[in-house]
Symmetry: C2
Subunit: 95 residues, 2 copies
């Protein structure tokens, strides 16, 4: 099992536009083989900070995800709405 946390800072006033794109990405991604969970969270203190928290069966499933048509179509559009590049960590369960 692989857990991904992809944290982004969204440009001021762009959270709703980001959410619309994220909804489309989430809808398609949850259909993927090997996707256990794929959710978007918003920081309670700063509404411009969001994070995808994702659970994948294995690294192969994650590798396939970033080559899907929906990922390649939607993620670059989302990038325009971010203050800077996302902070992405891929984790394995330790305890």
């Amino acid at each position: 099992m692989i857990r991904v946390v992809a944290k982004s800072v969204i440009k001021e006033g762009e959270v709703e536009a980001y959410k619309t794109l994220a909804a489309e990405l989430i809808q398609e991604t949850r259909k993927e083989q090997g996707c256990i969970s794929y959710e978007l969270f918003q920081d309670v203190q700063n509404k411009d900070i969001v994070a995808f928290i994702e659970t994948w069966e294995n690294q192969d499933a994650l590798d396939r995800h970033i080559k899907t048509a929906h990922f390649e179509k939607i993620v670059p559009k989302m990038a325009f709405l971010k203050e800077r590049q996302s902070e992405i960590n891929v984790y394995r369960l330790m305890l």
Copy 2:
């Protein structure tokens, strides 16, 4: 539901010591009322990066957690093993 991601960079050579303390913290925390999940992850690329990913019923449960005897006893010991302060985000589910 509240999701916490607490990411830390551990000093070189101290990951096993950190893991021992974390195991004790986890064992006690999972008994707390309002704790849905409380897990420790390790970055697959950099073994010195770890993250607690926590799910709490609500903010009250999280507020109680940081006042427990086990939190107050163990977390300061863990702090000595970190390169710098943890990066902590408290999130709500958006999508």
